[in-house]
């Protein structure tokens, strides 16, 4: 069953200009943060959205959760369009779709006790107040491993370590029993020895509640560990998407291949040779014509400079956007 579907989603941000530039130039420039992406996420699965910084993965997460409005395109949740929901309907949607942010030092209000932050969604959605709310919050804190829950209920964020804060943020996202959770780099600010613990917690909660995750990360190794499906983004576009096993055993897009070969491996016996990929990511204000990856691609032909390759089937449950695949 398809839990989430995104169709031709676009988000362009206007570029801020100085006063003089605004007077003398009529042209408004846009950062093409997300450009025409489409993907589906099955219920109970983890969709890993992977890419380098600036590729639009976070913007995609914010679009899905309706924190920002898309420029174009449609978002379907449980086969119902949610792109333009307003008022009461939007509130219901937000109860079912939650987000975990990257930085647990910024996502918790420093002046609110953990118990208040975690329980606040229950009040907003008029589910529980008072003693009943406290009971639900304490149970949730225990579930995410913040024990003894009573102590953490009355603690302020500064009293917690990064890992504990992220657990509190996870508790807050989970307290409404959501169906879809967008996790935006949830472990990148956490100490290495504690990362696996957060991943394990997220997988445990997923299995218990049959949750669906969109897991945003820059780290392919983490994506490989947690995801069922992987989407690789480059300059606002999805260049390859497919089942995890397919992507890792049979990568098709030159960018995916480059990305895979650039990942360091904790094994000195497997040191790698030089990589074919040169240069750095192009600007998303004036992206390259045709295939956006062509200036860095060692296989690029004339066709790649002119026409944009569509995302098409290259195998079972596996799509890539490349003229040469």
């Amino acid at each position: 069953m398809i839990e989430l579907e995104v169709v031709n989603l676009k988000k362009y941000f206007p570029v801020q200009k100085s006063f003089l530039e605004r007077i003398f130039s009529r042209r408004i420039e846009y950062v093409q943060a997300v450009n025409n992406i489409s993907f589906k996420v099955n219920k109970g699965e983890v969709f890993g959205l992977v890419g380098e910084s600036g590729c639009g993965k976070t913007t995609t997460g914010r679009l899905i959760t309706r924190l920002i409005e898309p420029t174009e395109g449609k978002i379907f949740f449980k086969e119902k369009e949610v792109t333009f929901l307003q008022g009461e309907e939007l509130r219901k949607f937000r109860k079912a779709v939650q987000i975990i942010f990257q930085n647990p030092y910024a996502s918790l209000n420093p002046r609110m006790k953990i118990g208040y932050s975690v329980g606040h969604p229950l009040e907003i959605h008029r589910i529980a107040t008072g003693e009943r709310k406290k009971k639900i919050v304490l149970e949730m804190l225990e579930k995410v491993g913040l024990e003894p829950a009573d102590n953490f209920y009355n603690a302020y964020p500064y009293e917690l370590s990064g890992g504990q804060r992220q657990r509190a943020a996870i508790a807050r996202a989970m307290i409404l029993n959501p169906e879809l959770v967008v996790a935006d780099e949830p472990i990148s600010m956490i100490d290495v020895s504690l990362r696996a613990k957060i991943l394990e917690l997220m997988l445990k909660l997923k299995d218990e509640k049959n949750l669906t995750y969109v897991f945003i990360t820059h780290d392919l190794a983490v994506a490989k560990y947690i995801s069922n499906w992987i989407g690789i983004m480059y300059l606002g576009e999805i260049v390859e998407v497919g089942r995890k096993e397919e992507i890792f055993s049979n990568p098709q897009h030159p960018y995916t291949k480059a990305l895979l070969s650039a990942i360091p491996v904790p094994d000195p016996a497997r040191r790698r040779k030089d990589l074919t990929l040169k240069g750095e990511v192009s600007s998303s204000i004036n992206p390259p014509s045709g295939c956006r990856f062509h200036p860095r691609c060692s296989f690029a032909t004339d066709k790649c400079q002119i026409s944009k390759p569509p995302l098409r089937l290259v195998g079972k449950d596996h799509k890539a956007a490349c003229h040469l695949c």
Binding site: S193, D219, A221, A262, P266, D267, P268, L277, E280
Partner: protein, 321 residues
């Protein structure tokens, strides 16, 4: 090979209002000429402080309170600032994590290099410019861009400038603190390859400080793992990854996802790193260690040399010796 730097029982403390933080606690290490040491540890393990203390750049309220830093036989700890300056940049240099904050935003890239060269060496403007062109070429920056300002450079290119500055005076030892942490994987890999190239062509000793074990595995000859201000294991890179002995090394390596493995089972280390104002009694790792016994809770284990060039700070290996 000759030892380039020998660190003996180095102690660096931060005197804060909350108490004394023993950020580097009796650390001993040595680096040979042309050797690359990977210094790894989690945040707060004291690895950055150790790196800064080699250049005697520990910020206040931090101070080196004990131990020796023998660089080519000369103890740097005893040197005053004036004499220390002869070593900084010229003999020992540093690449910082974020080159944006270490470059002057009002100076062109080329000027940065020329200034560094002219400050330390008696050369003419022309000679300095020639050296600058050579350095830019070495780190892969086109010469035309020497007239650009730092803000016109991307993160990866800025880090190349940082590296060019660090090697400008042909140092014997290069310390790089999290030099690729702010970069994306592909750029990170490019910079890593650049470092590998320089390592062979310049025959520099290098200390790479990082939290990323996988990254260090790519380049280091030896690995030193820090925990709570102390070195817990030190070994040849190959030995460290294949035959590590310390429970912390084991826990850390098992918690890192490896892209080469399918169906990997990740584990984690319970608990969290200790508060260094009140470190645990005995072995600092014992509250998180699955093998901890009574002696670990009471006494601090010595750093035992289990084999040549393989040291581990754990009681479990005392008998084996």
């Amino acid at each position: 090979m000759q030892n380039l730097l020998i660190i003996e029982n180095l102690e660096v403390h931060y005197y804060t209002r909350a108490g004394t933080i023993k950020a580097v606690d009796r650390v001993s290490l040595s680096i040979k000429k042309g050797e690359t040491l990977g210094l790894i540890g989690e945040s707060g393990s004291g690895k950055s402080t150790l790196g800064l203390s080699i250049l005697k750049l520990v910020p206040l309220p931090g101070r080196i309170v004990g131990g020796k830093l023998l660089f080519n036989g000369k103890d740097l700890v005893k040197l005053d600032n004036k004499h220390m300056r002869k070593f900084r940049g010229r003999r020992i240099s540093m690449v910082f994590q974020d080159p944006m904050t270490s470059l002057n935003p009002l100076m062109r890239i080329g000027e940065h290099l020329i200034e560094t060269i002219k400050t330390h060496k008696k050369v003419t403007q022309k000679e300095a410019e020639e050296r600058m062109a050579l350095l830019l070429n070495e780190v892969g920056i086109p010469f035309e861009r020497s007239k650009d300002y730092p803000h016109q450079f991307s993160g990866g290119m800025r880090q190349r400038v940082g590296i060019a500055l660090a090697i400008a005076l042909n140092p014997d030892l290069l310390i790089a603190d999290e030099f690729t942490s702010s970069l994306d994987v592909i750029v990170q890999f490019q910079i890593l390859n650049l470092m590998k190239k320089l390592k062979t062509s310049y025959q520099m000793g290098m200390i790479l400080i990082s939290h990323d074990i996988s990254l260090v595995a790519e380049i280091a000859d030896k690995i030193a793992l820090m925990y709570a201000g102390q070195i817990v294991e030190f070994a040849q890179a190959k030995v460290f990854f294949e035959k590590h002995l310390h429970p912390y090394s084991e826990g850390l390596l098992n918690s890192v996802p490896n892209i080469q493995l399918s169906d990997q089972k990740l584990s984690y280390i319970p608990g969290m790193p200790p508060d260094l104002t009140h470190p645990p009694r005995g072995c600092r790792f014992h509250p998180r260690c699955p093998y901890a016994t009574d002696i670990c809770r009471e006494k601090e284990p010595p750093l035992i040399e289990v084999e040549t060039e393989h040291m581990v700070k754990c009681f479990r290996y005392e008998l084996r010796k």
